[in-house]
Structures are given as C-alpha cells and as structure tokens.
Subunit: 141 residues, 2 copies
DNA sequence: ATGGGTGCAAAGTGTTTGCAAGTAT
DNA sequence: ATACTTGCAAACACTTTGCACCCAT
C-alpha cells in the first residue's frame, strides 16, 4: 500500500505545477497528453486523486468540473459564473471559524471551503461593450 | 415568458418546505412522487431550478449531489464527509467579504458560499464505538 | 390562442472502476 | 516476488434536453 513514483504520476504532478489558472482534470489530461500520448484519462483522474489525498496538489470544488491548484496552503477562490474562470481570493483563511463551528455543533471540522461567485473583469468588459442598455452583466450575457 | 403556477411546481415547492434536512433533488422527487405518481424526474429537476432562480428555494452545492434548502437567507453549511448529511452552520454571512473581494479583484461579486467539512456527531459516535484503536474517525470509518 | 410546462426516454457530463497486463520496490 | 499502477472501455451518478402533447393565462 506504499505510493509509487511512476512516470505518469510525475507527469500529472508536473502538469499541475506548470499552471496557475486552476485547470480541470481534463485540461491536465490534455497537457499531459502532449508529453505522453498513451496516458489514459483514468490514470490522470486517479493520480489527481492520489496527489490531492497526499496533499501534493489541492482539489478545488466548483460547479460543473472540479479544478486543481498547485498552491498547498488553505485559501479561498473566486469563480466567474460567466466564463468559469477560477482565481485565488485575497482573503486569509479563517482558522477560528473551524474552531467555533466545531465547538458549537459537535462536528469534528477538518476545514471549510469558500467560493466567491460573480463576474470576472474580462466578462464585465465584454458585457459593457455589447450592451449599453443592460444594467447588470447578467442581462448583457 | 411568465412563470406559471402549475400543480407540479407547487408540489415541488411544498416538498422542499416540508423538509429541514437539505434533501437532494432525487429525494424531493421521491417525496413528490407520493402525492403524484405520474410526475417525472425531469419535471422535478426543472422546477427546482426554476424555484431556485426565483429565490423561492435555495440551491446548496455540495459534493456528489446538490441539495435544496427551504431557508432563503444567506448562510453557511456543514457537510459530513462520512454520511453526506448537511446542516446549517451557526455563523453569520459575512457581507463585508463580498465588498472587500470586489474592491480588491475587480470582480462583480454576487455572493460567496462556505461549506464546512468534517464528521457529524452521529458518525463520530459510530466511529468511536467500532474502533477504540483508531485515533481519528477517518481510520475507523 | 399561445407560449410556458409536462412526461418520457435518450443524451450529456464529469468521474470512477473492473480487468488483464505492466512495473516500481 | 509482490502489490501498486496502467490502459482501455464500460459503467456510473446526477442532471439536462428534444419532442409531442397539455394546460394556465
């Protein structure tokens, strides 16, 4: 039950580390595929799970498809509900939240995840350009 | 494009309002099915989406299957990573977070979602009972 | 009457898994 | 030698959708 150092696992880890844009499993698959056109989706998905469990990459849970993050410290994320882009949020992780909730609920808390939802600057610009009449980006998009 | 008041939509809304345990779409489907054994899954899923957009129910996004909440005010959730149960968290929604992130990132933030992950009291009890040797509920479960 | 809503079944999407063969330790 | 890993394809779980008919407005 020891974890092995396989060429495929190494390729997946390197691929995650080469990107700062929170890629999905499938995007990682496509990246790795450039270096090894034999590696299978299953292997990439399996390795991403293994690496996330081993805390070598971070699993970011957002709608539609999960993402992977090279950052290992706990932090929050921003999710663009228009284009799906994910960014790191500039707020510190609130450790005390976990303690407070644990004390008040009887849960044994491991962590919390916070996702900010909204429109990224790029999508706001597009919306502004294509619809002067619209009052919200939602209307324009 | 006006929303209609159909028997099916009413049944779905009522079903959500009768539960405080954050049921999944399929659980709502099963509940509604007791009152109307003809209603289809598609209709329930469609109506849950319509009701969530219209802010008549709240969509809670957790791993595996999304849940629905009768509460309409913004609040955080606890998710048991062992049994999948969802509870409301006893912490106030931080409005200022949205403003701060908006100011610092250029995003237009609509809201944020926070999910606490851990083991619920019930699962902790089970784990404690079935494994005195284990040091963490993870080991025991 | 008319355009949203429904039931049904099929199609999606993203991810996991069973199996036989391969390989790190 | 042992047991973790891989590639492949099939299976999965959850959700959405196309279509013809229906019904609230």
């Amino acid at each position: 039950m020891t974890k092995r150092d396989t060429r495929q696992r190494r390729l997946v880890l390197d691929a995650v580390r080469l990107r700062t844009d929170h890629p999905s499993a499938d995007e990682i698959y496509l990246d790795v595929r450039e270096k090894d056109n034999k590696i299978s989706r299953g292997t990439v998905y399996r390795n991403l799970n293994v690496l996330a469990e081993g805390n070598e990459v971070t699993h970011v849970k957002v709608p539609s498809a999960d993402r992977y993050d090279l950052r290992l410290d706990r932090h929050y994320h921003l999710f663009c509900i228009s284009c799906g882009a994910v960014f790191d949020a500039p707020l510190p992780y609130q450790d005390d939240y976990d303690k407070r909730v644990e004390a008040e609920t009887g849960f044994r808390i491991q962590r919390h995840r916070t996702i900010f939802e909204g429109f990224c600057p790029g999508c706001l610009a597009k919306a502004g350009r294509s619809a002067e009449v619209a009052h919200t980006p939602e209307e324009a998009l």
